[in-house]
């Protein structure tokens, strides 16, 4: 432990702690733009300067030392910070009024905090063309302050290497390799860059206008589904605390927006479990050479696998994601049951995710109903925007229910939104399928939480099932390498079943989730582990309190198989609920 003084307060912290972190222990938030808890300090922005024994140093990358006397704020420091901000602003457009990030922007917030009311410096800001090529995320280099958070996250946390720096000095820009459009790069559209961006430089591809047009077309039957992780994050846009589960209010808001039917992606999650658990049991009992089974409901992970881990294609679950399954069911089963022409149905999905926008058009399999199964995928942020536009007083809404039959779900469906949840849900049902008995203890504490790679072993009546859960695509490599090594050496498989979610923490921390700045939230803002935990807890609590916690107990799903699908993995179920994967080049050039 190291003892030092920060603004005359005695502080004792472990050696190696940065001054920035040490100051937080005495309730001092030193402002910074480039240092985010998820990334290593880069000393990029220069805002976090403090005085250490009289010398001005950057607190993010200066470790504490015994006996240091630190001043975090005095007129001189404030002056320097203000100048640094002015320099940053001289290369930033004054477009707050028309910026999607306005009100939630860290740069705007700091600029207000430091009372910058006019620009003394001439603007050097260059207009660049926005990169909208992915149709999932939008990169506007003119608004980029080159803090490097996105690059760090894309390269190291996600290990995708789509984003990089181009050129140097004032000409530095964040782009894909050599300045090519993102769609031609290895970008997996996970949107973690946008979740970590402090400004409006990386945002979601906004499709709310398209949805408004559909809602206002009387010829159409526009229905909606919401993903598990949306319900525990949307509240942040309306002043609720992190992780508050607002399923009922969200349904009510959607109905008021004009959606004809409110469905739930959790229903699709339960359906996915029926298919995936069946697939696992089949491979486990009759085709062990096809093990391990790797989950495939995360589109960013699917994209990554098709580009980087093509040898794993045979291990991928062929099940479509819950989003895709609800889309397919809405335009076939539901349309038939209700006597609606599927050509008139529009399925909108509300997702915590930017990659879901890519998923709905990723292959011909996404048109299994004969039409595009899901028409538009909106992020949580876009839904919040629509609710605000329409003037709905979200906080005062009475809770409502979803519509039958694609709205019913169990606790197993709702935990899909958090790391470990898909595996937990699948094991509950797989156990039943193998043994014909219900699993007693249906929580798997080993695979909850934010450890990057979690492993466990489940006993299914004498059969040991080894599982791994990885989240944050940077952690996947380790798991897959273990697998490859075992295969190469002819050893026993290290795992039978692997769950992967592209974003750290799972969908609750997806690239489409709110980036609201809450008063109590420590700076820098944006997604942090604390928020990830709170949102996950919101889902886990719903599961704990759910009447049914096993997907195979979902009554609507039982009816669906009896009335329409038949046997899991076969016939209609296979045609409508499964997909296939192809090797794709990393670069489209």
């Amino acid at each position: 432990m190291v003892k030092l003084k920060i603004d005359n307060y005695e502080v004792e912290v472990p050696a190696g702690t940065s001054i920035l972190e040490a100051a937080r222990t005495v309730q001092i938030d030193i402002p910074t733009l480039c240092k985010h808890p998820d990334v290593d300090p880069s000393a990029g922005c220069g805002i976090c300067i403090v005085k250490v024994n009289g010398r001005i140093l950057r607190s993010c990358c200066t470790p504490v030392a015994e006996g240091m006397e630190i001043i975090t704020s005095d007129p001189e420091i404030v002056n320097v910070r203000r100048t640094v901000l002015e320099l940053i602003l001289s290369n930033h457009p004054n477009e707050c009024l028309t910026c999607i990030r306005s009100g939630h922007c860290e740069l705007q917030d700091l600029s207000n905090t430091f009372g910058i009311s006019q620009s003394r410096l001439p603007s050097l800001n260059k207009k660049f063309e926005k990169d909208e090529s992915t149709k999932a995320i939008v990169l506007d280099p003119s608004k980029c302050i080159v803090c490097g958070r996105c690059v760090e996250v894309c390269q190291n946390q996600q290990n995708v290497w789509a984003l990089s720096y181009l050129n140097r000095g004032l000409a530095t820009r964040v782009t894909a390799a050599g300045g090519i459009p993102l769609a031609e790069s290895p970008c997996i559209k996970c949107g973690q860059c946008s979740a970590h961006c402090p400004t409006g430089a990386i945002v979601e591809y906004d499709e709310t206008q398209k949805v408004w047009a559909m809602l206002n077309d009387p010829e159409l039957v526009t229905v909606v589904q919401i993903a598990p992780a949306v319900r525990v994050a949307i509240g942040e846009e309306f002043g609720y605390d992190f992780g508050e589960n607002l399923t009922g209010k969200t349904y009510a808001a959607l109905r008021r927006l004009g959606f004809k039917k409110i469905f739930d992606t959790n229903f699709g999650a339960d359906l996915t479990i029926i298919e995936e658990a069946s697939e696992f049991v089949k491979r486990f009992t009759t085709a062990p050479e096809q093990l391990p089974l790797i989950t495939s409901c995360c589109p960013a992970w699917v994209d990554l696998m098709e580009k980087y881990h093509q040898d794993m294609i045979p291990h991928f679950s062929t099940c479509k994601s819950p989003q895709a399954m609800v889309g397919a069911m809405a335009k076939t089963y539901y349309a038939e049951k209700m006597g609606i022409d599927p050509a008139k149905i529009r399925v909108i999905s509300i997702m915590p995710c930017t990659a879901k926008k890519w998923e709905i058009v990723r292959s011909e399999d996404m048109k299994s109903s004969g039409y595009q199964d899901v028409d538009v995928s909106l992020t949580t942020r876009e839904l919040a925007r629509m609710i605000k536009q329409s003037g709905i007083n979200f906080r005062e809404l009475a809770e409502e229910e979803a519509d039958s039959p694609l709205g019913e779900y169990t606790g197993a469906g709702t935990i899909f939104g958090t790391t470990g949840g898909v595996m937990t849900a699948a094991l509950r049902t797989a156990y039943f399928y193998v043994t014909g008995e219900e699993l007693e203890n249906i929580e798997f504490k080993d695979i909850e939480g934010l450890e990057g790679i979690k492993e466990s072993e489940i006993d299914i009546k004498g059969n040991k099932v080894r599982i791994a859960v990885a989240h944050g695509t940077g952690n996947v490599e380790t798991v897959l390498q273990k697998l490859r090594d075992a295969k190469a050496n002819g050893e026993e498989l290290p795992y039978h079943f692997i769950e992967v979610m592209a974003c750290r923490g799972g969908c609750v921390a997806g690239g489409g989730q709110p980036r609201v700045m809450m008063p109590g939230q420590p700076k820098p803002r944006g997604i942090t582990d604390d928020i990830r935990r709170k949102r996950a807890q919101g889902l886990l609590n719903e599961d704990l309190q759910a009447k049914e916690r096993r997907s195979h107990h979902n009554q609507s799903i039982k009816t669906l198989y009896a009335e329409y699908l038949g046997t899991p993995g076969e016939g209609k179920a296979h045609k409508l609920l499964h997909t296939h994967y192809v090797a794709r080049p990393k670069y489209q050039r």
Partner: protein, 159 residues
Amino acid sequence: MTEVSLASQVAAKWRKKRGSLIMALHEIQDVKGYVPWEDAYQIAEEMGIPLARIYEVLTFYNFFKLDAPGKAVISVCTGTACYLKGNDKVLEEFKKELNIGEGESTPDRMFHLQCVRCVGCCGLAPVCVVNGKTYGRVTPNDVRNILDEWRSKLDEDKE
């Protein structure tokens, strides 16, 4: 095809040495005059370095060229002596005649125009150098002659 590409040879040579990316890229540019996308891609695959990182390096250093330079490289000296003697006007004339900017090549890859700071013969100012041949006391009126001279030379080489 059994022929091993330049990029593959270079990658094989440097693969095992850490921190040798710049050396590898140098070798590509030494032979080709620039680093083509395909070569950078191959280096990435075979040296196990993300292409994004390679382009970070390529665009950080002015030395590396991403496009094929013209066959005749025109170096206009803008050192103090040459500049004072009016080489800025010569440079403008080259830009006008070739319809390209500084550091650019003509679309037919015939000419590349660049500025250099002093070529060591200030007595001849203002000076231009084309592929090693030095032209002294150049005036804007000479520009067209110099270009014609190199056009016919390059045409001959082609035949």
